[in-house]
Symmetry: C3
Amino acid sequence: MKVPLPSPSGVSLEDLARLVGGEVQGNCPDLLFGVSSLGQAGKGQITFLTSPKYLPDLETTRASAVIVGRPVPPSAKPLLITANPYLAYARIAQFFSPPSVHPSGISPLARVGADCRIGEGVSIYPFVYLGDGVEVEKGVVLLPGVYVGDSVRIGEDSIVYPNVSLLFGTVIGKRVIIHSGSVIGSDGFGFAQEGMNQVKIPQTGLVQIDDDCEIGANNTIDRASLGRTWLKKGVKTDNQVHVGHNVEVGEHTLLIAQVGISGSVTIGKGVILAGQVGVIDHLSIGDEARVTGKSGVIQSIPAKAVVSGYPAMPHKTFLRSSALFQRLPELAKRIQTLENRILGLEAQLKKEKEDHGNES
Amino acid sequence: MKVPLPSPSGVSLEDLARLVGGEVQGNCPDLLFGVSSLGQAGKGQITFLTSPKYLPDLETTRASAVIVGRPVPPSAKPLLITANPYLAYARIAQFFSPPSVHPSGISPLARVGADCRIGEGVSIYPFVYLGDGVEVEKGVVLLPGVYVGDSVRIGEDSIVYPNVSLLFGTVIGKRVIIHSGSVIGSDGFGFAQEGMNQVKIPQTGLVQIDDDCEIGANNTIDRASLGRTWLKKGVKTDNQVHVGHNVEVGEHTLLIAQVGISGSVTIGKGVILAGQVGVIDHLSIGDEARVTGKSGVIQSIPAKAVVSGYPAMPHKTFLRSSALFQRLPELAKRIQTLENRILGLEAQLKKEKEDHGNES
Amino acid sequence: MKVPLPSPSGVSLEDLARLVGGEVQGNCPDLLFGVSSLGQAGKGQITFLTSPKYLPDLETTRASAVIVGRPVPPSAKPLLITANPYLAYARIAQFFSPPSVHPSGISPLARVGADCRIGEGVSIYPFVYLGDGVEVEKGVVLLPGVYVGDSVRIGEDSIVYPNVSLLFGTVIGKRVIIHSGSVIGSDGFGFAQEGMNQVKIPQTGLVQIDDDCEIGANNTIDRASLGRTWLKKGVKTDNQVHVGHNVEVGEHTLLIAQVGISGSVTIGKGVILAGQVGVIDHLSIGDEARVTGKSGVIQSIPAKAVVSGYPAMPHKTFLRSSALFQRLPELAKRIQTLENRILGLEAQLKKEKEDHGNES
């Protein structure tokens, strides 16, 4: 299969179909130069339809072509038909997305410590600090204000955005992306109580982040007290995620914004923790489990479970109970009414009995 | 109207009354040099009373004068009477607050890229990085450790505090304040699922922050996947606020600390989202709506609505249902009692019927 | 009491027992060089048992010795017996933990302002910015990218990790640890409303952090509007904690990850606010109170109280009500059933009465 290359002269819809393994319907005379949304796309752009609710926009979009799924919606537009239009959109957007260009080399305004091993084609920007014994593999980009502590290792083609701190001994895999302001390898929160006073437990472990992970902005991922805090291959975290010491996160798990995970939690692979979820310490969350937004997890969750609420419960229970929560005033009133009615019945029966007694 | 200027020799209470459009009651012989709180103010300072609960402090304060609202509280102190004492306090505090002084010019320890346009009277501190094609209008202050990516534009008199990251293409209006550690223009969290694997959607849009916005410390405001993430004029965010990609926030809306807003949410003007609120993606929140602290918004909210809880519901419903939540054990017991009583009645009736049958 | 010193040739179990005031059981021929976990420890390491649930691991660990509490578990291993094994572990881990070594002096790549007073043995790393009139006492370590505003004071032996911002006038005590990315002294969130518009209240107070505090990564601690925001001796905060303006936090209080505290809250000593707790403004929380994770505090809490939920209620009430929340569908059904049964009874009685009437 011949894979097209982006070209200033544009590519054909057929080229894009070949790129994503899709099929063309209609004739698209325009060459394509980029992607855009249904509402904003113009001539020379391809757009995508991932939800039936945007069907009306399919008629009005000025895009030259549209990526759609099956069943194929009726349309006069040239269509690129594929099983997973959002995935095709991602591939095509990546195809058109210009690769970031970073000047290769080490800025004279950066500071590199002793015994560092720096690979080929690395970009080390001004105001980057590298401690001693740092290993930076080929193609790595370290943007301004990045702090790289002693003995840190960063795998090839990883990019670390501005003002990130990678503390002592952190191990970063290949093709990892770390967004601005994140802190990797800060001390775990560990103290032994001695009366009112706290005695600090030295945090002497490290953080390991495997290949193809992406860490959002302003995350905090604590080093282990002993051993390692470990994000496995392909984990993606959104912004402001907190990961405590000794946590393990399985392959391709997603941690959405503002999630907080306490120490020593073990999370399986393919899990999704939605925004603002909290997990208390030492729990385990099974593979492909889902925790909906804002939930508080206080006991371990089996694989593939879907839980919600605080404390987290099966999602269906949560839906039913939440609906009834809003009806609590009505339920309380119905209880009150029942009490009155039963009081009435009891009185009536008592009276009848008395009457009956009188009768006898 | 002659507006007073702060003076080392102090200003009179009458001057301050003129400044804020208020009225003086009593005679204040002291000249005034600054503001302070009721408890801490001394001679030469003016203080303010915004809540009746601090009325007792009005007698004991050592302030030279007090800003009050109507009805005017009984007091022997010189008073500055105004419709909105908190607003008057703000104006007077601003009046006394010394303007920050920043050395004008570009530090030799800063790094400025190619093709930048730098306005008059700009302060660029050490360890500031400016990429290529950056535009910085007059009077802008960039404090140490600020990262300004390629093609960023910053409008006049804006101030960016230390260690802020403004990624590629970010557009900042005039008189904008961005507090330390915030990240503007990090990639939105967008992936297409391909089996277990995630394929990154390139985030090629940008962030636009309009005039007079103030962004708290350690915020994260993601760039749009396509188009822009947009904070309109006068939006104020508290600390640790997260704003997802393609979100729009209307004029003068307030986002309190640790609020998280998922992608493609549209928020109207004059809205208040209180602390730790979460909003799921693609919703709209109408003008002047209020969401109380910790609420989870999972469906769109009409203008002027007040909602609470998770899932968010009308605030009054939440108050009633929350009160009953705490009484659930009692309600459950009442149901149990009803069941016992009804069982008693049923047994009694059955017996009577049998007796009756026997009688017949 | 002779206190042992760490030695490359190792120390005896008896030495460690003396260090922590414990007692040895069994004979430990190995010299000890460090600590590790039950599962990972090897020869020459000491480990610890703090929970009976790890008792089975006691038989299989390859550690040379184990710290245990009373009652002493049956074991063939050499044991170090102590009243508080976790505390003994902390002390022994500190004993073995190599002190961080920082080069003394001021990096030529740092920038030091006018009228600064810098103590003996200070380490000021590259890309550190010190404003004017800064006071840094002896033994302080300022890692790369730290911003120290004008008039900031930092007490002896404090360490400030990379990319921390200490804004104007901040006062830091002795032996304070501030982890990466934290912002101390950002403006409090204070505005007076003027119609739709907000008028900024100048935040002219400061932040004071007393001796032996530890501040986690990516915290935000706002300066007071007037007066000070004050963390007293020994306060520990986890990551991503937000502390609003004019908050006071008492001695040795713990604020766990992602806690948010609104302005003017007063917190006593020895308090624990668990992860993701939120507290609204102007409340007080009494000494040694506990707030469990994710709770929302909307009224003041007395000393030693334990509260949970949103709005926060006594923890026992929360447990009972939460259990019933999940049973709401069943309760609603029972109410429905009661209504049907009472309807049946009422009908039956009515009929009997009619029959009775007919009979008479």
